[in-house]
Protein backbone atom coordinates (compact mmCIF):
# COMPACT_ATOMS: atom_id res chain seq x y z
CA UNK A 1 0.00 0.00 0.00
CA UNK A 2 1.18 3.51 -0.82
CA UNK A 3 0.12 6.47 1.27
CA UNK A 4 0.37 9.75 -0.60
CA UNK A 5 0.55 12.76 1.73
CA UNK A 6 -0.26 16.09 0.07
CA UNK A 7 0.00 17.45 -2.49
CA UNK A 8 1.28 20.84 -1.38
CA UNK A 9 2.63 23.50 -3.73
CA UNK A 10 0.74 22.63 -6.90
CA UNK A 11 -0.11 26.32 -7.32
CA UNK A 12 1.36 28.20 -4.36
CA UNK A 13 4.92 29.47 -3.90
CA UNK A 14 5.41 30.33 -7.58
CA UNK A 15 8.66 32.07 -8.48
CA UNK A 16 7.89 32.52 -12.17
CA UNK A 17 10.76 31.14 -14.27
CA UNK A 18 12.50 29.60 -11.26
CA UNK A 19 13.31 25.86 -11.69
CA UNK A 20 11.78 25.00 -8.29
CA UNK A 21 8.27 25.46 -9.68
CA UNK A 22 4.70 24.29 -9.11
CA UNK A 23 4.73 22.03 -12.22
CA UNK A 24 7.10 19.71 -10.32
CA UNK A 25 4.21 18.57 -8.14
CA UNK A 26 2.06 17.66 -11.15
CA UNK A 27 5.01 15.68 -12.59
CA UNK A 28 5.43 13.72 -9.35
CA UNK A 29 1.68 13.05 -9.16
CA UNK A 30 1.73 11.85 -12.77
CA UNK A 31 4.52 9.46 -11.77
CA UNK A 32 2.28 8.07 -9.04
CA UNK A 33 -0.66 7.74 -11.47
CA UNK A 34 1.54 5.83 -13.91
CA UNK A 35 1.69 3.01 -11.36
CA UNK A 36 -2.10 2.45 -11.53
CA UNK A 37 -2.20 1.40 -7.92
CA UNK A 38 -6.00 1.51 -7.64
CA UNK A 39 -7.09 0.71 -4.10
CA UNK A 40 -3.45 0.28 -3.05
CA UNK A 41 -3.13 4.08 -3.17
CA UNK A 42 -4.45 6.05 -0.20
CA UNK A 43 -4.24 9.86 -0.33
CA UNK A 44 -4.19 11.84 2.92
CA UNK A 45 -4.47 15.62 2.86
CA UNK A 46 -1.74 17.75 4.41
CA UNK A 47 -2.49 19.93 7.41
CA UNK A 48 -0.38 22.81 8.67
CA UNK A 49 2.37 21.88 11.12
CA UNK A 50 1.81 23.34 14.58
CA UNK A 51 4.25 25.92 15.89
CA UNK A 52 5.51 23.42 18.48
CA UNK A 53 6.27 20.94 15.69
CA UNK A 54 8.33 23.59 13.89
CA UNK A 55 10.07 24.80 17.06
CA UNK A 56 11.74 21.40 17.50
CA UNK A 57 13.95 22.22 14.51
CA UNK A 58 13.67 25.96 13.85
CA UNK A 59 14.25 29.10 15.93
CA UNK A 60 11.09 30.99 16.81
CA UNK A 61 12.59 34.25 15.64
CA UNK A 62 13.28 32.81 12.20
CA UNK A 63 9.72 31.47 11.97
CA UNK A 64 8.34 34.91 12.87
CA UNK A 65 10.59 36.63 10.33
CA UNK A 66 9.70 34.21 7.56
CA UNK A 67 5.97 34.42 8.19
CA UNK A 68 5.98 38.21 8.30
CA UNK A 69 8.23 38.44 5.19
CA UNK A 70 5.84 36.19 3.26
CA UNK A 71 2.71 37.98 4.48
CA UNK A 72 4.19 41.28 3.27
CA UNK A 73 4.67 39.80 -0.19
CA UNK A 74 8.12 38.23 0.15
CA UNK A 75 11.18 38.71 -2.04
CA UNK A 76 14.59 37.09 -2.38
CA UNK A 77 16.11 35.32 0.65
CA UNK A 78 19.38 34.83 -1.22
CA UNK A 79 20.51 34.49 -4.84
CA UNK A 80 18.72 31.11 -5.12
CA UNK A 81 15.75 31.29 -2.81
CA UNK A 82 12.51 33.21 -3.21
CA UNK A 83 9.52 33.86 -0.94
CA UNK A 84 6.07 34.89 -2.16
CA UNK A 85 2.84 35.83 -0.38
CA UNK A 86 1.76 32.17 -0.43
CA UNK A 87 5.11 30.67 0.60
CA UNK A 88 4.57 30.64 4.35
CA UNK A 89 1.27 28.78 4.16
CA UNK A 90 2.70 26.31 1.63
CA UNK A 91 5.84 25.72 3.71
CA UNK A 92 3.88 25.11 6.91
CA UNK A 93 1.57 22.66 5.15
CA UNK A 94 4.57 20.98 3.48
CA UNK A 95 6.12 20.51 6.92
CA UNK A 96 2.82 19.18 8.30
CA UNK A 97 2.35 16.65 5.50
CA UNK A 98 5.13 14.46 6.86
CA UNK A 99 3.41 14.30 10.23
CA UNK A 100 0.17 13.23 8.57
CA UNK A 101 2.07 10.54 6.64
CA UNK A 102 3.52 9.16 9.87
CA UNK A 103 0.09 9.02 11.52
CA UNK A 104 -1.34 7.20 8.49
CA UNK A 105 1.47 4.61 8.56
CA UNK A 106 1.10 4.16 12.32
CA UNK A 107 -2.53 3.23 11.87
CA UNK A 108 -2.06 1.08 8.76
CA UNK A 109 1.04 -0.72 10.02
CA UNK A 110 2.11 -1.52 6.45
CA UNK A 111 3.32 0.00 3.21
CA UNK A 112 5.26 3.21 2.58
CA UNK A 113 4.37 6.89 2.35
CA UNK A 114 5.34 9.51 -0.23
CA UNK A 115 5.15 13.15 0.84
CA UNK A 116 4.51 15.18 -2.33
CA UNK A 117 5.29 18.71 -1.28
CA UNK A 118 7.18 21.86 -2.10
CA UNK A 119 9.01 24.04 -1.20
CA UNK A 120 11.63 21.36 -0.48
CA UNK A 121 13.35 21.31 2.90
CA UNK A 122 16.76 19.73 3.35
CA UNK A 123 18.86 22.92 2.96
CA UNK A 124 16.79 24.83 5.54
CA UNK A 125 18.79 25.41 8.71
CA UNK A 126 17.54 26.22 12.19
CA UNK A 127 17.57 29.94 11.61
CA UNK A 128 17.80 30.33 7.87
CA UNK A 129 16.14 29.34 4.62
CA UNK A 130 18.45 28.73 1.66
CA UNK A 131 18.90 26.60 -1.44
CA UNK A 132 15.20 26.84 -2.47
CA UNK A 133 14.20 25.57 1.04
CA UNK A 134 12.27 27.44 3.75
CA UNK A 135 11.28 24.90 6.43
CA UNK A 136 13.00 21.55 6.85
CA UNK A 137 10.16 19.09 6.18
CA UNK A 138 12.06 15.87 6.82
CA UNK A 139 13.60 17.28 10.01
CA UNK A 140 10.20 18.31 11.39
CA UNK A 141 9.00 14.72 10.91
CA UNK A 142 12.16 13.16 12.34
CA UNK A 143 12.10 15.42 15.40
CA UNK A 144 8.47 14.52 16.07
CA UNK A 145 9.40 10.83 16.01
CA UNK A 146 12.41 11.37 18.27
CA UNK A 147 10.15 13.23 20.73
CA UNK A 148 8.11 10.04 20.94
CA UNK A 149 11.22 8.00 21.72
CA UNK A 150 11.98 6.62 18.25
CA UNK A 151 15.35 6.24 16.57
CA UNK A 152 15.27 7.69 13.08
CA UNK A 153 17.39 7.07 10.00
CA UNK A 154 17.34 9.80 7.34
CA UNK A 155 18.67 8.74 3.93
CA UNK A 156 19.28 11.75 1.66
CA UNK A 157 19.98 10.80 -1.96
CA UNK A 158 19.21 14.27 -3.35
CA UNK A 159 22.23 15.29 -5.48
CA UNK A 160 22.96 18.16 -3.06
CA UNK A 161 24.12 17.73 0.51
CA UNK A 162 21.36 18.35 3.06
CA UNK A 163 23.30 20.85 5.13
CA UNK A 164 20.19 21.95 7.01
CA UNK A 165 19.24 18.46 8.15
CA UNK A 166 22.84 17.75 9.11
CA UNK A 167 23.08 20.95 11.14
CA UNK A 168 19.76 20.39 12.92
CA UNK A 169 20.66 16.85 14.06
CA UNK A 170 24.41 17.39 14.47
CA UNK A 171 24.26 16.62 18.20
CA UNK A 172 21.23 14.31 18.16
CA UNK A 173 22.20 10.68 18.93
CA UNK A 174 18.74 9.36 17.98
CA UNK A 175 18.97 10.50 14.36
CA UNK A 176 21.38 8.91 11.88
CA UNK A 177 21.75 11.22 8.86
CA UNK A 178 23.15 9.53 5.72
CA UNK A 179 23.81 11.57 2.58
CA UNK A 180 25.19 10.81 -0.86
CA UNK A 181 25.82 13.90 -2.99
CA UNK A 182 27.84 15.31 -5.86
CA UNK A 183 31.13 16.97 -4.91
CA UNK A 184 32.10 19.69 -5.40
CA UNK A 185 28.66 21.26 -5.50
CA UNK A 186 26.39 23.58 -3.55
CA UNK A 187 26.12 23.97 -0.55
CA UNK A 188 29.79 22.98 -0.07
CA UNK A 189 29.25 20.89 3.07
CA UNK A 190 29.07 17.12 3.46
CA UNK A 191 32.67 15.96 3.61
CA UNK A 192 33.22 12.47 5.04
CA UNK A 193 35.00 14.04 8.05
CA UNK A 194 31.69 15.62 9.09
CA UNK A 195 30.51 12.88 11.45
CA UNK A 196 28.30 14.63 14.04
CA UNK A 197 29.01 16.44 17.30
CA UNK A 198 30.48 15.16 20.53
CA UNK A 199 27.08 14.00 21.76
CA UNK A 200 26.43 12.09 18.57
CA UNK A 201 29.72 10.92 17.10
CA UNK A 202 29.17 8.94 13.91
CA UNK A 203 25.47 9.78 13.50
CA UNK A 204 26.22 11.97 10.51
CA UNK A 205 27.46 10.03 7.47
CA UNK A 206 28.54 11.68 4.22
CA UNK A 207 29.60 10.11 0.96
CA UNK A 208 30.49 12.72 -1.69
CA UNK A 209 30.84 11.39 -5.25
CA UNK A 210 32.28 13.05 -8.39
CA UNK A 211 30.32 14.34 -11.40
CA UNK A 212 29.42 11.48 -13.75
CA UNK A 213 28.93 8.93 -10.98
CA UNK A 214 26.44 6.21 -11.92
CA UNK A 215 23.89 4.26 -9.90
CA UNK A 216 26.28 1.46 -8.98
CA UNK A 217 28.47 4.00 -7.15
CA UNK A 218 25.59 5.16 -4.95
CA UNK A 219 24.61 1.54 -4.25
CA UNK A 220 28.23 0.87 -3.25
CA UNK A 221 27.97 3.81 -0.83
CA UNK A 222 24.80 2.33 0.65
CA UNK A 223 26.26 -1.18 0.93
CA UNK A 224 29.82 -0.45 2.04
CA UNK A 225 29.49 2.74 4.09
CA UNK A 226 25.87 3.24 5.13
CA UNK A 227 24.71 -0.34 5.79
CA UNK A 228 27.16 -1.11 8.64
CA UNK A 229 26.32 2.20 10.36
CA UNK A 230 22.60 1.62 9.94
CA UNK A 231 22.95 -1.90 11.31
CA UNK A 232 24.74 -0.61 14.40
CA UNK A 233 22.28 2.26 14.84
CA UNK A 234 19.07 0.21 14.60
CA UNK A 235 16.45 2.65 13.31
CA UNK A 236 12.75 2.40 14.18
CA UNK A 237 11.82 4.65 11.27
CA UNK A 238 13.41 5.36 7.88
CA UNK A 239 12.81 8.77 6.28
CA UNK A 240 14.16 9.59 2.83
CA UNK A 241 15.08 13.01 1.48
CA UNK A 242 14.01 11.83 -1.94
CA UNK A 243 15.39 14.28 -4.48
CA UNK A 244 15.57 13.17 -8.09
CA UNK A 245 18.14 15.73 -9.22
CA UNK A 246 20.86 13.05 -9.38
CA UNK A 247 19.10 11.92 -12.58
CA UNK A 248 21.29 12.35 -15.68
CA UNK A 249 18.71 14.68 -17.29
CA UNK A 250 18.61 17.09 -14.37
CA UNK A 251 19.76 20.62 -15.27
CA UNK A 252 21.15 21.47 -11.81
CA UNK A 253 23.85 18.81 -11.41
CA UNK A 254 26.02 16.27 -13.23
CA UNK A 255 25.44 12.81 -11.80
CA UNK A 256 24.42 10.10 -14.30
CA UNK A 257 21.61 8.16 -12.67
CA UNK A 258 18.45 6.93 -14.38
CA UNK A 259 15.06 6.23 -12.89
CA UNK A 260 16.11 2.57 -12.69
CA UNK A 261 18.85 3.53 -10.23
CA UNK A 262 16.33 5.20 -7.94
CA UNK A 263 14.35 1.95 -7.92
CA UNK A 264 17.44 0.08 -6.72
CA UNK A 265 18.22 2.76 -4.11
CA UNK A 266 14.64 2.56 -2.87
CA UNK A 267 14.88 -1.22 -2.40
CA UNK A 268 18.15 -0.88 -0.49
CA UNK A 269 16.73 1.84 1.71
CA UNK A 270 13.49 -0.04 2.40
CA UNK A 271 15.61 -2.94 3.65
CA UNK A 272 17.02 -0.61 6.35
CA UNK A 273 13.58 -0.51 8.02
CA UNK A 274 13.21 -3.17 10.69
CA UNK A 275 9.45 -3.45 10.43
CA UNK A 276 6.86 -2.76 7.72
CA UNK A 277 5.05 0.55 7.58
CA UNK A 278 8.01 2.59 8.80
CA UNK A 279 9.25 4.19 5.57
CA UNK A 280 8.44 7.77 4.48
CA UNK A 281 9.85 9.44 1.36
CA UNK A 282 9.88 13.25 1.10
CA UNK A 283 10.13 14.93 -2.30
CA UNK A 284 13.16 17.26 -2.30
CA UNK A 285 14.85 18.35 -5.58
CA UNK A 286 14.38 17.15 -9.17
CA UNK A 287 14.04 19.80 -11.86
CA UNK A 288 13.58 17.92 -15.15
CA UNK A 289 9.87 17.19 -15.24
CA UNK A 290 10.08 14.00 -17.33
CA UNK A 291 12.91 12.59 -15.17
CA UNK A 292 10.96 13.55 -12.07
CA UNK A 293 7.87 11.71 -13.29
CA UNK A 294 9.79 8.58 -14.34
CA UNK A 295 11.90 8.51 -11.20
CA UNK A 296 8.87 8.90 -8.97
CA UNK A 297 7.20 5.96 -10.71
CA UNK A 298 10.35 3.82 -10.56
CA UNK A 299 11.03 4.55 -6.88
CA UNK A 300 7.52 3.93 -5.65
CA UNK A 301 7.03 1.04 -8.07
CA UNK A 302 9.99 -0.71 -6.45
CA UNK A 303 8.39 -0.32 -3.04
CA UNK A 304 4.82 -1.29 -3.82
CA UNK A 305 4.30 -4.06 -6.31
CA UNK A 306 7.90 -4.32 -7.48
CA UNK A 307 7.07 -2.83 -10.88
CA UNK A 308 9.84 -2.63 -13.48
CA UNK A 309 11.41 0.84 -13.90
CA UNK A 310 11.13 2.60 -17.25
CA UNK A 311 14.92 2.97 -17.63
CA UNK A 312 17.65 0.39 -16.88
CA UNK A 313 20.09 1.09 -14.03
CA UNK A 314 23.56 2.52 -14.81
CA UNK A 315 27.10 1.24 -14.20
CA UNK A 316 30.72 2.16 -14.70
CA UNK A 317 30.86 5.88 -13.89
CA UNK A 318 33.59 7.37 -11.70
CA UNK A 319 33.35 7.37 -7.92
CA UNK A 320 34.14 3.89 -6.65
CA UNK A 321 37.43 5.10 -5.16
CA UNK A 322 35.70 8.18 -3.72
CA UNK A 323 33.35 5.89 -1.81
CA UNK A 324 36.24 3.86 -0.40
CA UNK A 325 38.15 6.98 0.62
CA UNK A 326 35.00 8.41 2.25
CA UNK A 327 34.79 5.27 4.37
CA UNK A 328 38.45 5.68 5.40
CA UNK A 329 38.19 9.41 6.15
CA UNK A 330 35.05 8.84 8.17
CA UNK A 331 36.63 6.06 10.23
CA UNK A 332 39.68 8.23 10.95
CA UNK A 333 37.55 11.21 11.98
CA UNK A 334 35.48 9.06 14.35
CA UNK A 335 38.64 7.68 15.96
CA UNK A 336 40.17 11.12 16.38
CA UNK A 337 37.06 12.69 17.87
CA UNK A 338 36.49 9.71 20.19
CA UNK A 339 40.08 9.99 21.40
CA UNK A 340 39.62 13.68 22.12
CA UNK A 341 36.48 12.90 24.05
CA UNK A 342 38.21 10.22 26.10
CA UNK A 343 41.07 12.59 26.87
CA UNK A 344 38.68 15.26 28.10
CA UNK A 345 36.53 12.88 30.10
CA UNK A 346 39.51 11.47 31.95
CA UNK A 347 40.59 14.95 33.08
CA UNK A 348 37.80 15.92 35.40
CA UNK A 349 34.12 15.95 34.63
CA UNK A 350 31.88 12.92 34.78
CA UNK A 351 31.05 11.60 31.35
CA UNK A 352 27.52 12.94 31.58
CA UNK A 353 28.84 16.50 31.59
CA UNK A 354 30.67 16.55 28.33
CA UNK A 355 31.86 19.96 27.20
CA UNK A 356 30.29 21.16 23.97
CA UNK A 357 32.96 22.62 21.79
CA UNK A 358 31.95 25.00 19.07
CA UNK A 359 32.68 22.64 16.24
CA UNK A 360 30.53 24.66 13.94
CA UNK A 361 27.98 22.01 13.02
CA UNK A 362 27.34 21.85 9.32
CA UNK A 363 29.70 24.63 8.52
Amino acid sequence: MLILAGPVGEREHDGGSHPERPARIRAALDGVSDLRLGSDLVTVAARPAQRDDLLRVHDGEYLDELESFSRRGGGALDADTYVTDTSWDAAVRAAGAGLVAIEALESSGEGAAFVVVRPPGHHAQRDRGMGFCLLNNVAVAAAALVAKGARVLIVDWDVHHGNGTQEIFWDEPDVLYVSTHQWPLYPGTGRPEEIGGLDAIGTTLNVPVPPGATGDVLLQAMDEVAAPAVEAFGPDWVLVSCGFDAHRADPLAELALTSGDFAALARRTAAFARSPGRLVLFLEGGYDLQALRQSTAATLGALVGDLPPPEPPTFGGPGSEAVRSAARDRRRAIEELSDRLLAVDSLDAPVTERPRWGLGGAR
Partner: protein, 138 residues
Protein backbone atom coordinates in the same frame (compact mmCIF):
# COMPACT_ATOMS: atom_id res chain seq x y z
CA UNK B 1 51.22 39.74 16.11
CA UNK B 2 51.94 41.03 12.65
CA UNK B 3 49.58 42.47 10.06
CA UNK B 4 47.80 39.94 7.81
CA UNK B 5 49.53 39.32 4.48
CA UNK B 6 46.71 37.27 2.96
CA UNK B 7 43.12 38.52 3.10
CA UNK B 8 40.10 36.64 1.76
CA UNK B 9 36.85 38.43 1.01
CA UNK B 10 33.48 36.95 0.07
CA UNK B 11 31.97 38.59 -2.99
CA UNK B 12 28.74 37.92 -4.90
CA UNK B 13 28.13 41.26 -6.58
CA UNK B 14 25.54 42.37 -4.02
CA UNK B 15 25.80 45.84 -2.40
CA UNK B 16 26.74 44.23 0.94
CA UNK B 17 29.56 42.24 -0.60
CA UNK B 18 30.79 45.32 -2.50
CA UNK B 19 31.09 47.17 0.79
CA UNK B 20 33.11 44.25 2.16
CA UNK B 21 35.35 44.18 -0.91
CA UNK B 22 36.00 47.95 -0.74
CA UNK B 23 36.94 47.67 2.94
CA UNK B 24 39.18 44.64 2.35
CA UNK B 25 40.82 46.26 -0.67
CA UNK B 26 41.53 49.45 1.24
CA UNK B 27 43.18 47.42 3.99
CA UNK B 28 45.11 45.27 1.53
CA UNK B 29 46.32 48.39 -0.26
CA UNK B 30 47.51 49.97 2.97
CA UNK B 31 49.24 46.79 4.20
CA UNK B 32 50.53 45.71 0.77
CA UNK B 33 48.73 42.43 1.42
CA UNK B 34 47.42 39.96 -1.16
CA UNK B 35 43.69 39.73 -1.53
CA UNK B 36 41.69 36.68 -2.58
CA UNK B 37 38.20 37.52 -3.83
CA UNK B 38 36.07 34.45 -3.21
CA UNK B 39 32.90 33.89 -5.16
CA UNK B 40 30.60 31.08 -4.00
CA UNK B 41 28.58 29.45 -6.77
CA UNK B 42 24.97 28.78 -5.81
CA UNK B 43 22.36 26.44 -7.29
CA UNK B 44 21.12 28.70 -10.08
CA UNK B 45 24.55 29.96 -11.05
CA UNK B 46 25.87 26.40 -11.30
CA UNK B 47 23.06 25.62 -13.74
CA UNK B 48 23.85 28.68 -15.85
CA UNK B 49 20.63 30.35 -14.74
CA UNK B 50 22.48 33.31 -13.23
CA UNK B 51 25.71 34.83 -14.50
CA UNK B 52 29.04 35.29 -12.81
CA UNK B 53 31.09 36.79 -15.66
CA UNK B 54 30.45 40.39 -14.65
CA UNK B 55 31.58 39.76 -11.08
CA UNK B 56 35.28 39.23 -11.75
CA UNK B 57 35.80 42.42 -13.81
CA UNK B 58 33.87 44.44 -11.27
CA UNK B 59 35.83 42.96 -8.34
CA UNK B 60 39.19 43.65 -9.99
CA UNK B 61 38.14 47.20 -10.76
CA UNK B 62 37.14 47.81 -7.14
CA UNK B 63 40.45 46.41 -5.88
CA UNK B 64 42.45 48.48 -8.37
CA UNK B 65 40.48 51.57 -7.37
CA UNK B 66 41.54 51.00 -3.75
CA UNK B 67 45.18 50.89 -4.77
CA UNK B 68 45.80 47.14 -4.72
CA UNK B 69 48.35 46.06 -7.29
CA UNK B 70 46.64 43.78 -9.87
CA UNK B 71 49.19 41.00 -9.28
CA UNK B 72 48.10 40.82 -5.66
CA UNK B 73 44.45 40.17 -6.52
CA UNK B 74 43.31 36.58 -6.96
CA UNK B 75 39.81 35.69 -8.20
CA UNK B 76 38.61 32.43 -6.76
CA UNK B 77 35.39 30.55 -7.62
CA UNK B 78 34.15 27.68 -5.44
CA UNK B 79 30.94 25.67 -5.41
CA UNK B 80 28.79 26.27 -2.36
CA UNK B 81 27.21 28.64 0.09
CA UNK B 82 29.42 31.65 1.01
CA UNK B 83 29.71 30.57 4.65
CA UNK B 84 30.75 26.99 3.98
CA UNK B 85 33.10 27.99 1.16
CA UNK B 86 35.00 30.51 3.32
CA UNK B 87 35.20 28.06 6.23
CA UNK B 88 36.54 25.35 3.95
CA UNK B 89 39.16 27.74 2.63
CA UNK B 90 40.18 28.78 6.15
CA UNK B 91 40.63 25.13 7.16
CA UNK B 92 42.49 24.18 3.97
CA UNK B 93 46.07 24.58 2.79
CA UNK B 94 47.49 28.12 2.54
CA UNK B 95 44.62 29.66 4.55
CA UNK B 96 43.96 33.41 4.65
CA UNK B 97 44.97 35.28 7.80
CA UNK B 98 41.87 37.44 7.77
CA UNK B 99 38.39 36.91 6.32
CA UNK B 100 36.15 39.83 5.36
CA UNK B 101 32.44 39.48 4.62
CA UNK B 102 29.54 41.81 4.14
CA UNK B 103 26.23 41.42 5.82
CA UNK B 104 22.79 41.06 4.39
CA UNK B 105 19.87 42.63 6.09
CA UNK B 106 17.94 40.14 8.13
CA UNK B 107 14.37 39.66 6.87
CA UNK B 108 12.72 41.76 9.51
CA UNK B 109 15.25 43.02 12.02
CA UNK B 110 17.77 45.24 10.23
CA UNK B 111 20.11 45.08 13.21
CA UNK B 112 20.72 41.33 13.06
CA UNK B 113 23.74 39.86 11.37
CA UNK B 114 22.93 37.52 8.53
CA UNK B 115 23.43 33.95 9.60
CA UNK B 116 26.21 33.46 7.03
CA UNK B 117 28.33 35.93 8.97
CA UNK B 118 27.43 34.39 12.31
CA UNK B 119 28.17 30.85 11.14
CA UNK B 120 31.48 31.96 9.74
CA UNK B 121 32.47 33.72 12.94
CA UNK B 122 31.66 30.52 14.84
CA UNK B 123 33.71 28.21 12.63
CA UNK B 124 36.60 30.24 11.26
CA UNK B 125 40.04 29.62 12.78
CA UNK B 126 41.15 33.13 11.78
CA UNK B 127 39.78 36.61 12.53
CA UNK B 128 36.63 37.60 10.65
CA UNK B 129 35.60 41.16 9.88
CA UNK B 130 31.93 41.81 9.13
CA UNK B 131 31.49 45.03 7.18
CA UNK B 132 28.12 46.84 7.40
CA UNK B 133 26.41 47.94 4.18
CA UNK B 134 27.36 51.40 2.93
CA UNK B 135 24.04 52.95 3.94
CA UNK B 136 24.56 51.94 7.55
CA UNK B 137 28.19 53.04 7.84
CA UNK B 138 28.74 56.58 9.02
Amino acid sequence: MRAPARIAVGYDGSPGSEAALRWAAALAGALEAAIKVVHAVGLLEHAGLASLSVHEDRARAIAAGAGVEPSRVEWCVLEGDPGSVLCRMAEGPDPPELIVVGTRRSLVHPGLLGSTSLGLVACAPVPVVVVPPADRAS
